[in-house]
């Protein structure tokens, strides 16, 4: 018995020592080691490959109910957007037109982003209040409304990284800038050939907020 106590004292001393040794290759010895529990509470991001997706599942049938309750007031029953709140559904085929409509269906390249964003930031003003199952259900509902999955498709941590989004290939990398002609630092200084006709005035559009005092 005595031995055991001695042993465990020795053992904890060893642990203490080893954490000390660990701390030694830290240059400033500031901050503390984060526990797994602490990290789990804050590490909520979900990556395109599904990394970080929490255990849970849901389909569009259940999602419709949750969505109607938690989201429809702003985003509309069908994701069409109420007033100036963002629309979440539709817009396919519009990206190369004069009036592109960018939604989760027409524009978002990854379903993981829908999960990540809705869980972290929605409902607007009640962030991080949804359960994981509710979040999967809502994402399934939006994917269904965008005609990306069937209504009985069960979305979960196992397949969220595998959903093919219509616009996944719609993004260009890397950044091609500078993409303009003049990068030699020597622009025209005199008698430059430029258009100098006035073709529009902000005053005529008349959307500038007015000063109440003036």
């Amino acid at each position: 018995m005595f031995d055991l106590v001695k042993h465990s004292i020795l053992f904890s001393f060893f642990i203490f020592l080893s954490s000390f040794v660990n701390a030694d290759d830290r240059k400033f010895n500031l901050g503390k080691i984060a526990t797994k529990t602490e990290i789990a509470g804050w590490n909520i991001d979900v990556r395109p490959d599904g990394m970080g997706a929490p255990k849970g599942s849901g389909d569009a049938i259940k999602g419709e109910e949750v969505y109607a309750e938690q989201c429809a007031a702003c985003h509309g029953d069908f994701g069409e957007g109420v007033d100036r709140w963002p629309e979440l559904v539709g817009g396919e085929g519009s990206l190369d037109t004069h009036d592109p409509v960018k939604t989760t269906g027409s524009y978002w390249p990854y379903a993981s982003t829908m999960y990540d964003y809705i869980y972290r930031a929605m409902p607007f003003g009640v962030a991080q209040s949804l359960t994981h199952d509710e979040t999967y259900q809502i994402v399934a509902y939006l994917l269904y409304m965008n005609e990306i999955i069937e209504e009985d498709f069960v979305l979960s941590e196992k397949n969220i990284g595998k959903i093919k989004m219509p616009n996944q290939k719609g993004f260009l990398l890397p950044d091609p800038r500078p993409d303009i002609a003049n990068t030699d630092g020597k622009p025209c200084m005199e008698n430059c050939k430029v258009p100098t006709k006035i073709i529009g005035k902000a005053r005529d559009i008349d959307v500038t907020p007015e000063e109440e005092k003036s």
Binding site: N43, D45, L95, H98, A127, G170, F171, I205, V207, E210
Partner: protein, 425 residues
């Protein structure tokens, strides 16, 4: 949508006019006008009224505020742009500022879930993922690391985003005001990361805010370790709440959205996280329907702050044109000014200090005798990048990319000295 708003703005104006017909409103209006009028009894040879009495003692304003006569130098927003003020933006009154420092209370705001109010005692920064040690730091911990003090501009990638198709907003503040420039105090990530160590596979970091939007952006690790910092002070005092108190990320030269405020976590990983803010937003739609992604750097840009729509010319004779120029690629090396819509250019005077990834101040003296002017400015940075015309940008990017409009703007000075935001073509 825009049309609706236009009508409602007009309505407001009409209401205002009707309202001012009532005597009370008239008195109120004339009062504030009166305050700005010259009162000859204060002019030489008379003794001004403030000389004959004692002023306030110390401590009447323990935290000093601008003179009451500067009440118009404020941030302003465009209400019809967004659905809620918690997910919205306002603009820095750059037309009223001098030098290169933006006063803290005038730095534009952009929030996605309102301003979080955080007791610094409750502040924690978590670092997790591909590091040797996953760690948590308090604010006091952060302040014990080696310190760095740097001036940087912060510009929203959507600054000028309203002007892609044509001139829409008749104001220097509304078209260029999503920029500010302050001195940051904080710790460089390259120092902080020595505590946690980095796994060789770490290529990206996810920066996450603790506000109600849980703002997140992916940043390549080369940039993070090059010049990024976590700041707790701006212009010598603690960050303002609306700028991320008690600590925010500083990503010099790159779009403002990445400068995560109320920073709570940095996660190191081996690929980008593709957050909503770097997919749905902050991607630049091209005419073909595809979009550029990860367009982080803010290209060189300049603006004439006076004369400008808010700063008409009041007298004939000599004037000092004033403006700001900045580049996310380094230092501004030169600014040119044109008074004839870009046909002829003269080089403006750049004022000290000219710092990398900071705004620089330029001035240019000119004479005005009542003729129409088409004022433009053109920035050149140390990489020899020349600020483009809107036509150059439109030719490559179309008109729907919202972000990264760094083109040359034109102010028309009318013969009465009033100034208009116009588009040349």
């Amino acid at each position: 949508m825009k049309k609706d708003k236009k009508q409602s703005l007009k309505l407001n104006r009409r209401e205002l006019l009707v309202g001012s017909a009532s005597l009370g409103a008239m008195a109120a209006a004339s009062n504030s006008v009166f305050a700005k009028q010259v009162s000859s009894k204060n002019l030489p040879p008379n003794v001004p009224e403030w000389t004959g009495e004692l002023g306030d003692g110390v401590d009447v304003n323990p935290y000093g505020m601008p003179s009451q006569f500067e009440e118009n130098v404020i941030r302003r927003n465009v209400e019809w742009l967004t659905a809620s003020s918690q997910s919205s933006v306002n603009f820095t009154p750059i037309q009223d500022l001098e030098g290169i420092v933006t006063p803290n209370g005038l730095c534009f705001e952009r929030h996605h879930g309102g301003v979080s109010i955080i007791n610094p005692k409750d502040y924690r920064l978590m670092i997790n993922g591909l590091v040797d040690r996953e760690m948590i730091f308090t604010l006091e911990d952060l302040k014990r690391f080696p310190q760095t003090n740097k001036f940087y501009f912060l510009e929203c990638a959507a600054n000028g985003g309203m002007e892609w198709k044509g001139s829409q907003l008749n104001g220097c503040q509304y078209t260029f005001g999503m920029v500010h420039n302050v001195q940051y105090t904080g710790v460089k990530l390259s120092d902080l990361i020595q505590e946690t160590g980095l796994k060789p596979k770490a290529k990206w970091v996810l920066a996450e805010g603790s506000d109600s939007s849980g703002m997140t952006r992916s940043i390549p690790i080369e940039k993070l370790l090059d010049d990024c910092m976590i700041a707790w002070a701006m212009n010598g005092e603690a960050l303002r709440s609306e700028q991320g108190y008690p600590a925010r990320l500083v990503v010099p030269g790159w779009e403002g959205n990445m400068w995560v405020k109320w920073l709570r976590r940095l996660e190191f990983g081996d690929m980008p996280y593709m957050t909503r803010e770097e997919t749905s937003k902050y991607t630049d739609l091209l005419p073909e329907g595809n979009a550029r992604m990860f367009t982080w750097v803010m290209d060189a840009k300049s603006v004439v702050t006076s004369p400008s729509p808010e700063k008409p010319i009041l007298n004939k004779g000599v004037h000092q044109l004033r403006g700001l120029a900045w580049s996310g690629r380094g230092k501004i090396s030169r600014v040119d000014v044109s008074l004839d819509g870009g046909k002829n250019w003269k080089t403006a005077k750049l004022h000290d200090p000219v710092l990398s990834k900071s705004v620089a101040r330029f001035t240019f003296p000119f004479e005005w005798n009542g003729e129409e002017l088409l004022i433009q400015s053109r920035a050149i940075d140390e990489t020899n990048y020349v600020q483009p015309t809107i036509q150059e940008l439109q030719k490559i990017r179309g008109v729907n990319s919202i972000y990264h409009n760094n083109s040359i703007a034109t102010w028309l000075v009318n013969s009465d000295g009033k100034v208009d935001n116009v588009r040349l073509g």
